[in-house]
């Protein structure tokens, strides 16, 4: 493991920001620390950086314990949430700062800074001050400034939080490309799961100072290990029970149920594709149809429960009030102990993925 946190605990007064955090990150990975605000994810990042000191546990980088190594000597590039660009320095001087501090050769500094400026595509803006740049440009400068001294590890605290939605999408892609190009091990903090899923190789989910789950976006999505992860990832409806749903007779009492839009299929009764599954079908009534840009979001009332599903725009037109056939492929069941997937028993032997 390239970066490791071992049994890390941290308290701020009575507030526990980290409870026994353990994880390891391989070299070259781009990892997201994902969690709701106040979950302790930023504190974990700051402890890695050395900007905060853990109460107990070890921070390891390249196999060495760095607990007593000050932030300035850990060789880490850090991109702050609001970039923290030096207001009274030009773009050039901002990027050059780390190299100047290391007392690098003047010519080398110049070459490196110009290389960085062309890497981030801000040629010609090197004499500007931070407040003369757009949000996206500032973000780029902050990135360049952090990696200019060739750090071994790049940490980013909510790197997209201060940017408007339109630019954010482009910037995510840009940042991912940049990090791959530079090939630096990177960890970023975010509260936005879409962002984490899109950008990161691996996601670490943090809640109330605890590490809930770590894994690739798809594995976390498909196999949530804790109730929190099951609820936090994806859009989901939480139901108290599944009484009356065909194929879920064996669901024990006392477990809550999570249903995601992609677990639900709604089709017209004459649809031949689903002919073999009619024994598992429930009847549902369309309550609303919302256009979501590239698909429709249908809300259906089934057995007195409201379910949501997404419908391709290529499919047949549906109306509010229309009766539909509804299939519930699978659900997540969870209680305080953990979460599990439960498939519809009546669909056993049918290859749903081949549909």
């Amino acid at each position: 493991m390239y970066v490791e946190m071992k049994d890390i605990c941290k308290k701020f007064g009575d507030y526990e920001a980290a409870k026994n955090i353990n994880f390891g990150i391989e070299q070259g990975k781009l990892v997201a620390l994902l969690g709701p605000s106040g979950s302790g994810k930023t504190t974990i990042l700051r402890m890695l950086a050395g900007l905060e000191q853990q109460d107990s546990g070890d921070v390891m980088i390249e196999g060495k314990v760095v607990n007593d190594v000050p932030a300035s000597e850990r060789g880490i590039g850090f991109v702050f949430q609001n970039y923290a660009l030096f207001r009274y320095m030009t773009v050039y001087d901002n990027i050059a700062f780390g190299l100047k501090v290391q007392k690098a050769d003047k010519q080398k500094i110049h070459e490196r800074v110009m290389e960085m400026i062309s890497l981030i595509g801000l040629e010609g803006l090197e004499k500007r001050y931070p407040n003369q740049l757009s949000g996206g440009q500032r973000q780029r400068v902050a990135f360049a400034r952090a990696i200019a001294p060739n750090p071994q590890l790049l940490l980013l605290d909510e790197p997209f939080a201060a940017i408007d939605a339109k630019v954010r999408k482009d910037l995510r892609k840009w940042l991912k490309e940049m990090i791959q190009k530079v090939g630096i091990t990177s960890i970023f903090v975010t509260h936005d799961q879409e962002e984490a899923v899109e950008v990161a190789d691996d996601i670490i989910i943090i809640n109330e100072g605890r590490l809930e789950q770590m894994g690739s976006p798809i594995s976390i999505y498909k196999n949530p290990k804790t109730p929190f992860v099951a609820q936090f990832i994806g859009t989901s409806a939480i139901l108290e029970n599944l009484k009356g749903f065909k194929g879920y007779d064996a669901v024990p009492e006392g477990k809550k149920v999570i249903v995601r839009p992609e677990f639900v299929e709604a089709f017209k009764s004459d649809n031949k594709k689903f002919a073999g599954m009619m024994n598992a079908v429930e009847e549902g009534t369309i309550e609303s149809v919302v256009f979501r840009g590239s698909y429709l979001e249908l809300t259906l009332e089934v057995n007195g429960i409201r379910l949501t599903t997404n419908r391709s725009l290529e499919r047949r037109h549906v109306d509010i009030g229309e009766k539909m056939c509804v299939l519930l492929y699978r659900v997540y069941l969870f209680d305080d102990e953990g979460a599990e997937i439960r498939k519809n028993q009546l669909l056993k032997g049918i290859d749903i993925e081949a549909l």
Partner: protein, 281 residues
Amino acid sequence: MKQNSQKIVQWILIGISVIFFLLMLVLPLFEVIYRALKDGLESYGRALTASNTLSALKVTLIATVIAVIVNTIFGVIASWLVTKFDFRGKNVLSTLIDIPFSISPVIAGLAYIMTFGRTGWAKPLIDGINDALGTDIALVFSVPAVVLATIFVTFPFISREIIPVLYAEGRDEEEAAAMMGASGFTIFRKITFPHIKWGLLYGIILCAARAFGEFGAVYAVSKARGKTFTLPLEIDALYMAGSADSITQAFAVSSLLVGMALVMLILKSIVEYRGKMKDKE
């Protein structure tokens, strides 16, 4: 209609303010200048070049310069400490800084006498130091005493100007610089100082203005006219002498102080203006 009534309120408020300023500030100041020049330029010049006046001017300038230097260093350190670090007793410290604002200067002066004076507890200590070094420093009724009293009184001005700026700025930029390996001094010089530059200058001006106008604290520890008197004390002494001549002289010396204050006021406005322009950039 609403616009009109707002206009009326505005003019009434302006009127009240102008009348207040005229009566309370401008007229008395004109009176000072008028009285100072009443007996002609020659006697004005004589009053300003009297040996007591020159001595008082010297003491005032010494006290002001030292107070500004000491308080600049202390003020920057204290505000840096209060805004950039978390430690126990931080709130106590930031309250302590304000003490000179809330305590009457006379009490400060008296406290110095009680501590360092003939019967004060620190007297043997100072005597010991004087014996050991062969010096003859007295911390009451002397120029060093005047300097100390002035430092005490003007002590919060600089930190009070810088602390809000440092708070508003946050710690991000310093942390960013630290992450890149910059030392504390480099961080201060390259990152923090540019932020507080204008606030610091403004604080220095306020501190200086207050330092040479101080009366109460200095009055308590300075009793030798022509030796340890500052300008305000000299003015008081001249005025208290009571003769028509000395009263005119008192006004002449006052006009000197008013002049210095005006210079400070103009400097302050320039600094404020430039600071604002800088922020807008």
